[in-house]
Every structure is written in structure tokens, then in C-alpha cells.
């Protein structure tokens, strides 16, 4: 068994070693999986770069923190603004040098290091065949007399859970703890990650689940199921974007830069809606799939810069904990 394995790994090593230059991209597991956008992106990029794109998947931040300046990554894709403060402090990234003045995202973007490739908002998803009158605002949800049960993710272990508590903070400011107390009475349970929550919701366990405004698009396009909708709140929704950056230790800086501009190309951007189930960051609205154009969208977008997100996260997680442990 072990011999077989080592032969196998040796073969892999050899086959990698004799090939063209390799661009190493660190990405989250969902991104590189067969059902994520990764494989297609690799295929399209390899057509134009005369190189091999190698994904290394797994938890990005812990890995980057361990590796620091010795990282083997040329490009890192899949970070978000709630963690970029720490990532930037590592000092391992290089300016992307792309033009971000005309991105198709709802906020102004002038970060020199991190480049957004997709976006969405946090939102509660509900089944419109069962919940006829969904709340129209966060306030209405918190104060509703109906017995609405929600499943959310833990902000201590999940990036979407963290986005939720920041969302609440951005709406309620100094009154956020009170809001959490009201929210706690609506919450059926809290899960470690998004998958557990969403799995429980699709089993019919709860009325609403914390997810993204773009989630219904999956059900409409892939399953032809129009019963899932995002509840749009009048206070606005927290903006969620995923980012890419190139490292300054890269041995293939030219390829890395090429990949950064590929991210903003139409080829890449067109793969995002149905590959990552989110809005692409640089694609004209008329090039989106029709289902995405028709998705109900919030009027107002709430967003914390990475400094603010960093400043608030510990405070707001503590408020959340206190309220939920009552």
C-alpha cells in the first residue's frame, strides 16, 4: 500500500516537474472543488498563459499565517474584507496594478492589494410557499409576533456568521446588544458553518436561514425551483465580497500579474454567477444570466472597511455571545 502510494506521489511529482512554469494558487476548498468555479478557471487560464495552474486548497488564513513570507503561493484567492486586515499585516502581498475604477460592485473600490472577484450580500433565505409574509425589515423580524425560527452560523467559526454580527452592528450601532437579545429568541440553533445551516433549512427544519442574496439563483437555475427567496430588508444588507491578491515572494510575478488581469476579464467573470453562485465583480449587467438580473436586490448596501471590521469584530462577537448565553 505504502509503496503504491509513494510510486503514485513520485509520478505526480515528476509529471509536475517536467512541465511548463507553474502558477500556484491558494484557494478555499469549495472554490477548487469540482462543483466550484476553480476547475473551469484553471482550464481557461491555461489556454492563454502557456503555464500550469496548481491549486492548493484549504484554510487560507491559518496557512498564510504559518507560512508568512516563505509562502509558496503566487496568488491567493478567496479572502474577504473581514479578514484582510490581518492578511495585509503579514506584508506578503504585492499591488495588483489593475484598474478598479469601473468595477460592477455597489461600493467604491480603491484597494491597491486586494482585488474583488465576486460579491453578494448577507441575507435570510426563506421558503416563499410556506412563509407568506416575510419581514420587510430587520426591525420587523426582531419585533415580529410570529413564531419565525431562524438558523444562523456562529461568528466565531464561520465567515458568514461574522458577517451577520457586523451587519447587525452596522444597522443598530450602540444598540446592537439589545438587537442580539431579540434575535436570540428567534434563533432555533447556531451551527459551525454555512453547510450545516443550509442543509437543515432545506430539510424544512427552520423558516429562515442566514445565507446570501444570491442563494435563490442556485435553486432557480440548477433545480428550477422558485420557492426560495431572500428577504430584503429596508435597513440595507451587509456587503460581502471575495478577494484575490498576488504575493511579493512569487517566483512567477509575470504569470501572477497575468492571472490578476484574467480575474477581471469577461471569460473569468462570466464563470462566476453559475460557478460560485454570486455576482461577478466586473461584468456589465446585461451579460449576467437573466435569473441574476431578476433577483430582488436591497436598495441600500452596508459595509465596514477592514479597519472598522477589525475594530468591531471582537466587541460585537462578545455582545452576541452575551445575548445568546442569556
Amino acid at each position: 500500500m505504502k509503496i503504491l502510494l509513494s510510486v503514485f506521489f513520485a509520478l505526480v511529482t515528476v509529471s509536475v516537474a517536467c512541465a511548463k512554469p507553474t502558477l500556484t494558487v491558494y484557494a478555499p476548498d469549495y472554490f477548487t472543488s469540482e462543483w466550484g468555479p476553480g476547475p473551469k478557471i484553471k482550464q481557461e487560464f491555461e489556454k492563454i498563459c502557456d503555464c500550469d495552474l496548481l491549486y492548493i486548497s484549504g484554510d487560507l488564513m491559518p496557512r498564510l499565517m504559518i507560512e508568512g513570507k516563505r509562502t509558496k503561493a503566487d496568488v491567493v484567492i478567496g479572502l474577504n474584507t473581514d479578514v484582510t486586515f490581518k492578511a495585509r499585516k503579514l506584508g506578503i502581498f504585492e499591488a495588483h496594478k489593475q484598474d478598479t475604477s469601473s468595477l460592477s460592485i455597489p461600493i467604491k473600490w480603491n484597494d491597491k492589494i486586494f482585488l474583488p472577484f465576486d460579491w453578494s450580500h448577507t441575507a435570510f433565505i426563506y421558503d416563499n410557499t410556506k412563509l407568506k409574509n416575510p419581514p420587510q425589515s430587520f426591525d420587523e423580524l426582531l419585533n415580529s409576533k410570529d413564531d419565525i425560527k431562524i438558523i444562523i452560523q456562529d461568528p466565531r467559526t464561520s465567515i458568514s456568521g461574522l458577517a451577520l454580527v457586523l451587519w447587525v452592528k452596522s444597522i443598530y450601532g450602540s444598540k446592537s446588544e439589545e438587537a442580539f437579545t431579540k434575535l436570540a429568541s428567534k434563533v432555533l440553533t447556531v451551527t459551525k458553518g454555512w453547510s450545516e445551516s443550509y442543509g437543515m433549512f432545506t430539510q424544512g427544519e427552520a423558516d429562515m436561514v442566514l445565507s446570501y442574496t444570491t442563494s435563490p439563483a442556485y435553486h432557480i437555475i440548477a433545480e428550477n425551483d422558485k420557492s426560495k427567496s431572500a428577504a430584503i430588508f429596508s435597513e440595507g444588507h451587509y456587503f460581502f465580497t471575495e478577494l484575490a491578491a498576488m504575493t511579493n515572494s512569487s517566483k512567477e510575478p509575470k504569470l501572477a500579474k497575468e492571472f490578476m488581469s484574467f480575474i477581471l476579464s469577461d471569460t473569468f467573470q462570466r464563470m462566476i454567477p453559475t460557478g460560485n453562485w454570486s455576482f461577478p465583480s466586473n461584468l456589465a449587467r446585461d451579460k449576467l444570466p437573466e435569473e441574476f438580473i431578476n433577483l430582488p436586490m436591497p436598495q441600500k448596501v452596508l459595509f465596514y472597511t477592514e479597519e472598522d471590521a477589525q475594530k468591531y469584530r471582537d466587541i460585537v462577537i462578545q455582545e452576541w455571545l452575551t445575548a445568546f448565553q442569556k
Binding site: L5, I56, T191, G199
Partner: protein, 512 residues
Amino acid sequence: MANSFSKIRPTFFGGVLVVSFLVVITVGTLIAVVCRIEGFSGLTWNEWTAIRFTFFQSFVSAAISVLLAIPVSRAFFRQDFIGRNILITLLGAPFILPVIVAILGLILVFGSKGILSQLMGFSAFSIYGVHGVILAHVFFNLPLATRLLLQGWNSISSEQFRLGQSLSFSPLNFFMHLELPMLCRVVPGVFLIIFLICTTSFAVALTLGGGPKATTVELAIYQAFRFDFNLSRVAILSVIQLLMCGLIAVLSIWIAFPAHYEGGLDRVRPIATTGKILDFIFIACAAIFLILPLAMILIRGSGSLFLLPQSVMFSALRSILVSLAATGLATVMTLYLASLIVYYSKAYEIFGYLPIAASPLVLGTGLYIIFYNFIDPGKMALPSAIVINAIMCIPFSLRIITPAFKDLEDSFGRLADSLNLIGWSRFRWLIWPRLKGPIGFSAGLSAALSMGDLGVIVLFSNPNHSTLPMEIYRLMTAYRMDEAFGAALLLLVLSISLFWIFDKGGRKNAIT
């Protein structure tokens, strides 16, 4: 057994090698993490709450699992009926399910829209809360406790029962003279192992506990690692977890009552005639409780089982290979460690429990820090999965193999010594034939556990070398819940089959 010291020296070296390996892997990885620490600070209030909750829920879950397992295993021991062996195999299944699947299975039965609330109509009952955590942990661990205790009952030789019968023992006499000493010997170890399993649970505890009230130390470790990337917190919390587990381990080994039964002649044991109805009630209740959630996964997943993409099949194959390699490694390591315990000192047992007390996250991180400089971690994905799965199985295998090994040496050791039966021939002619049953069972359990484990691989994962549990998570993150259930069913079937093959293989022509 000091007199056999010279004769079994290779065994001693092998055992010490295993012990050092375990120490390096568990404590060494912790040290690797500690070396990256930049500063220390005391425990926060939140962490104290987590420690208290972890201790409380583990203690209660372990106690209930063991208490319930006593009548259930006794019933299985006393009664013989058609399908008994299949039922025993099936009852082992909850223990080997991947966490996320087990949660969904439990929710399909006990959740607010589960079949229980639909059948009985009591929507007032909610699974979420401390009782939910305990319910889930009993669901996972009752089968393990039952199997381990069943082994205990089987260790009482049939001659002793016959002797009791000829002395007109009443059921109470049987209990006091034969069964109670066995329980005193076996129960502390079973309690310990379940306590340890429950301490490191966290996704189950959080989800079914209804939120942050049910925060365990492992969750705090995960948070410190993934979210804050604060290695000093990770290290402090892991040390606390190790200490907590160590305390219970020392206690349970110290309490365990050394009972010894003379070896019998392996005659058929008499079937009990009294208390038959009660026995069947216990068996039926346990079977319904344990099998219902599995049945729900079967119903939910069977629709998409045959529509699974090819890549899922490949990952299943990969999982089987990882699992077989891990099983082999675990079995060899356990046998060496068990010989060390049996021939030299009981104290070595503590090393066998190190792996469950250690946080898988710390293990993974430590290995990553150690290996990062030398090897591409992507290539380490499968080998490290094999090694980590193997050492994670050792506590269970050890629990299964050591008592039987001890009995065997107590009964036949002197005879074997006088025949100068040492080394390989002692293994071939004495140990293997009589330990086949426990070895088969422990190998089955290891195989199934290694199939279902996600395997620490957050840092070592490689997109092209995924295992089946990873594919299930990936399907779920890609919204494909139906296929995820299909894949979960596949995993369930494969795990049970592997378990059954080893367990059955061990029992074939086996003496115990």
C-alpha cells in the same frame, strides 16, 4: 511477568517505538505549536464557561451511555435470535458516521419537523438544548459502549455460569458473583473512552445545543486557530483539554477493579431463561433509537445514490484505501502497545489515550508546521490522513484488545512460557487464534472510523485527492444537498461493510 523479560525483548522495543511515536505525534505537535507563541495571557470568562460545559456534558453523556449500555449488552449476551449478529453490526453504525450526516439524521427524526414530532404531534418538544447534545452523544456512543460491554460479558467463561447453575444461583447471586466484578473491571475504561470522545466534540454540541451556551473547549480551539489565529490560545486550550482528559484517564485506570476469570474450555454458554421479555424490550428500544436516524438517511439518500458523479466514486475508492492502510497501521501499533501493557506495566495504557485527548486541529497544525519546510503539504494529504486516522483509532483498538489479551496471558501465559513459546510462534499459535475476535472487531472499527473521518485535513487538503467525507462537505457547500445525502448513504454503506467484513472475519472460527 518479569521472568519473560528476556524472551520478549523485540516486543518491548516495538512497544516503546509505538509509545514514542504517539508522544511525538501528540505532544510533539503541541510543542511545535507552542514554539510559535508570541505571548501568554490568562483564561477569559468565555473559556472558563467552555471548560465547565465540556466537562459537564462529557460526564453526563458518558454516564448515560454506559448506564444504558449495561442492560442492552446484557440482553444481547443472554439472548440468541435470528438476526442478532446483523443487529449488532448495524448498531455500530452511528459511531462511524461523519458528524454532519449524523446531525442531519438526528434532526430528521428528533428535529422540529422530524418524524417524531410529526407522528406524535408534540411540537412543544425541542431537541435544541443541553439535552440535545446529550441525546446526540448517547446516539453516537451507546453502540460503542454496548459492544465493549458485550465483550466483557463474553469474557466470563461458560463454565462459571454452569457452576453457578449447579449451585442453584439466583439471578441476584449471578449478578453479585459473576457480573458485578466484570462490570467493575470493564465499566471505568468504557466510561473513560466515551468521556474522551465527548470532550472533543464540537459541531454536534454547538448545533444541537442550540447555540453558544453549548460551547466546548474544542470550539474555542477552533476559533482561536481559524479565526483569531492566536496560537497561544490554541496551545493553552489544548493543554487544558489534555489535562482534563488526563485527570479522568488516571482516575478511571486507578478505579478499574482487577477481576480475573479463569479461562474456560470454550463450551457453548447456556441461554438465559429468566427475564426474556425484559431483555427483548431493551434490545428493541436500543434498536429503534439507533436505527431510526440511519433509516432516515437511507430514505433521503437512496434517490440520488446511483446518480452520483464519477469523481465521488473515485473519492470513495481513495477513502477505502486510506482506511485500509490506517487500519493495518493501527492494528500493528495497538498490538505492540497492548503487549507492552500486558507484559510490562499497566501504566503504558495512558499513552494509548493521548490521541483522543489531543485536538485534531492541533495535531494537523503541528504536523504542518513541522513538515512545511521539507515537503509540499499537498503531497502529504493522503499519507498524513493515514497516519492521523491510524493513531486516532488506537485508543479504541486498545480498549478492545488489551482486556482480552490480558485474560489470555493470565490463563495461558505460564503454559506458553513453559513450552518456550515465544516471539512469532507465540503470536501465531497462542495470541492470534484467541485474539482473532477482538482484533477483527477493532480492525473493523478502525476501518469504519477512518472512512468517516474528515481527517484533520483542513491544512493538508489537495483538490485532486479528496476523500468521501470531504466530497460530502463540498457537495453541501455547492448547494447540492440531494447528492450530498446520496454520498452520505454511500459512505454509510461502505463503512458498515468494511466494519462487517473485518468483524465477521475475526469471528470466523474464532474462539472468543
